[in-house]
Symmetry: C2
Subunit: 347 residues, 2 copies
Amino acid sequence: MDQSAAEIAGRLGAGRVAEPPGALPQPAQRLDNAGPVRDYEVEVAVERLCLDSTSHRNLRERANGEPDGIGELIAEIVSSRGKMHNPETDSGGILLGTVAATGAAVADAPQIGTRVASLASLTLIPLRLESVDHVDPDSPQVDVTATAYLFDATGWASMPEDLPENKALELFDVCAAASQVRALSAGAETVCVLGAGHAGKLSLPAARDSAPDATLVCADVDRGALDAVAELGLCDIAVATDLRDPLGALAAVRDAGAEPADLTIVVVNAPNCEAAAALLTADGGTVLFFSMATRFSAAALAADGIGAELRMIVGSGYAPDQGDYALELVRGSEPLRRALGIELVAA
Amino acid sequence: MDQSAAEIAGRLGAGRVAEPPGALPQPAQRLDNAGPVRDYEVEVAVERLCLDSTSHRNLRERANGEPDGIGELIAEIVSSRGKMHNPETDSGGILLGTVAATGAAVADAPQIGTRVASLASLTLIPLRLESVDHVDPDSPQVDVTATAYLFDATGWASMPEDLPENKALELFDVCAAASQVRALSAGAETVCVLGAGHAGKLSLPAARDSAPDATLVCADVDRGALDAVAELGLCDIAVATDLRDPLGALAAVRDAGAEPADLTIVVVNAPNCEAAAALLTADGGTVLFFSMATRFSAAALAADGIGAELRMIVGSGYAPDQGDYALELVRGSEPLRRALGIELVAA
């Protein structure tokens, strides 16, 4: 392997893969989570995991909502895989901690002691868990004592000083949605957001920013979450409907006065919403699948099943702006802050 | 339900769903495959199924390559689901047959006796199987005696008169790739096609058509398939490499002189090639996942894992041109016909 190949392998963390040989860290079955920090890594003393919404829902259901059970499932997964990569949902989340050491070859190495959030998925980050310290079943955020190694290639963000850390972490977990929605919304007349959780709340102002005259529709089965979004003016039309029933959802959304969407954004954490997404979208329109509960084949065949030409996009967790745009939206929108329960603090 | 909702439901075949209630036919667990033909349907006397590549590979492996075993698996699947929807790959294929009856409400109903291929996936077509008549384990085409009901919304194509039927069927199974590759290739300097099967062979001339000056790269683990593609001039650079080993594949493709791709097209029928696809693509480039072996989470997290901004697209089986562009490519390119083993016949 020549120098450049070795460098690429190092920056991607290939040397951390324990099984199977040749894999990259994300799809790998198991990572080597042992210290010390390597050349292209940043070592973080981890205080908190922020599970992605689909994984959190899965763990809560499997543990019947019991905090101890959720903690045990987390410990089992990290113990067997060397990373918090939920095998049932194939998804992770992000983490919060303090930089403890940096490898010799890291570009733009952060200062020791800097508080950082990982922006790359937990599914690719070597993690050594000492203890699960606190679990609230209703929150995806779990307090832990652990050590993680962030790869040079996959990025992190310094924690902002004007947001409470738990709120900043929630935001970083879904921040990539904001930039992607902004890019895809340009010129849209109707944008439909499926899911009124954090990613949905953030997607709506991003669409408004990019397409100020568009009608924004938000649909979710949870009427409470939906009412909050509607009352704050984040959307123009709110529809309480079960998206797993595509014809029912179509009827409900049309009855509420919404036209076929130029852009539909899927940010629900429940499976089997692909058909509804396709059905709610105009022929020639775009569907952004951001939810980790999406099944590829169901998405690929959804357009087939309704005989429509759709551009279907796999949402990426990668945020080249390191969350800056999401922070900008939050700082600039009082309704969004209220929807997310964020109060800015003096820096 | 008002008239228009009933009409939508009818055209999508919602009344054919036996389980679960409220689903559309594609994601449904089981369809009602009983006659007679309904208002928005075309009844077809089916002679042949053309399994999609991923399902064919799966069935062949499960039956250890035995024709009878493959036939039994097909019979079991259709018996339990009312459709040829492989539950392990979540994929189907297409069918060939003769129009036997048409429902009263079908728009542009084909003549009785017309030979047609379904363009929509077998995963959504009610199918009643009488017998599996011939299986060649090396071919995805299986002779059967069966009855199918095609929905008005999801389309079919008349069989062309200048191609042998088995070759036309192979082509229709992957024809949607051609139009999508054409649209996405415009302006590309390097296009990388992962997989040298039918979809790969068809994608290369589509890219050449749209981006005549682009360097076309084809990578596959099967050196024989690759050599054929290279010798016929369908690609400029051919690389024999195992795409499940992303760093090995990256080294092999770069050693062969290929630059990072503006567009990478994934048409392999093996799983775990998502990371290689992401790694071979330039920052800011596009990945088209056309393979039904793609996992959504692996694709979504692939960009994350390498820290690159990629536009990742879910390939759709829907072909609004009903295969016309793929036929045009075949008729216009002698090398493509040789690659696909097609000899045009007098109409």
